[in-house]
Symmetry: C2
Subunit: 143 residues, 2 copies
Amino acid sequence: MNKKRSECPLSCSLDIFGDKWSLLIIRDLMFENKCTYNDFLKSQEGIATNILASRLKELEENGVIEKSAHPDSKAKNLYRLTSKGIDLLPILIEVYIWSDKYFTIPADVKEVIQEAKKDKEKFENQIRSKLTTLLEMQKASQI
Amino acid sequence: MNKKRSECPLSCSLDIFGDKWSLLIIRDLMFENKCTYNDFLKSQEGIATNILASRLKELEENGVIEKSAHPDSKAKNLYRLTSKGIDLLPILIEVYIWSDKYFTIPADVKEVIQEAKKDKEKFENQIRSKLTTLLEMQKASQI
DNA sequence: AATATTCACTTGCATTTTGAAAGTTGTTTG
DNA sequence: CAAACAACTTTCAAAATGCAAGTGAATATT
């Protein structure tokens, strides 16, 4: 697979999500309630189908997301963040906070960031518990 | 230059530092007291000279770093984080904390991460004040 | 003063990764 | 059964990357 460039944990992390697309998929899973191939495809940034497929594969191989059968259709798969993926939340929150300081941000997003800034821990726990619930529901339905 | 893929602040952020190298340069400036072209070149990961040159240029264009004359040698340049660059610190800290949970980490790095985890704010302020001092020293010497 | 070395790039070129469009396979819907 | 949808895969052009070599200015050495 991808060989490590160094033992530096930052470098190892970037080997997993250091590109223009992976964290956008994570974002969709975390905040946008997206969970299928097509959901991700429809995102504003316009990811190409091959890139999406390869990123989903890599993220799964790295244990950040998990694929399972979709309950509604045998054609679909359901993608979910694993706990390793959910743990990326604090990183994303800090990126949003940084963005808020240096970019002009759409009003609706701005609101959410304000909330996150006001009480970081509370915000994190809200999202985290939503995601954990989803993950557990999926686990349970697999039996 | 690079046109935005969307108005999403995460996407805009990744347009700036969403690659395998930029954050490693930021790391070197933040934690390794590196500040010249050659310092960055010598890092473990082995960045190519053309990539380093192009990343330094992009980071400068995006206001994340600043270039100035080196006091010791007219041949050298001195690269420093701007306040916009220094503000990336919380993001890097969260990446390190995530890494600590999911990777095997060299003992010396591990120690520093422990310290950051124990009192995130204190750790952040320490680094931040070191970097701000450096930046101000540089500003002063330019007069 | 001549030569060598350092520094920050730049150029050229081969390799790798990327991305858009079209094609494939299986599933479901009408 | 035909059409539409889901998740890919293939193809191929373009962009990014990586290595080697070269450039020109500034220091250091002889």
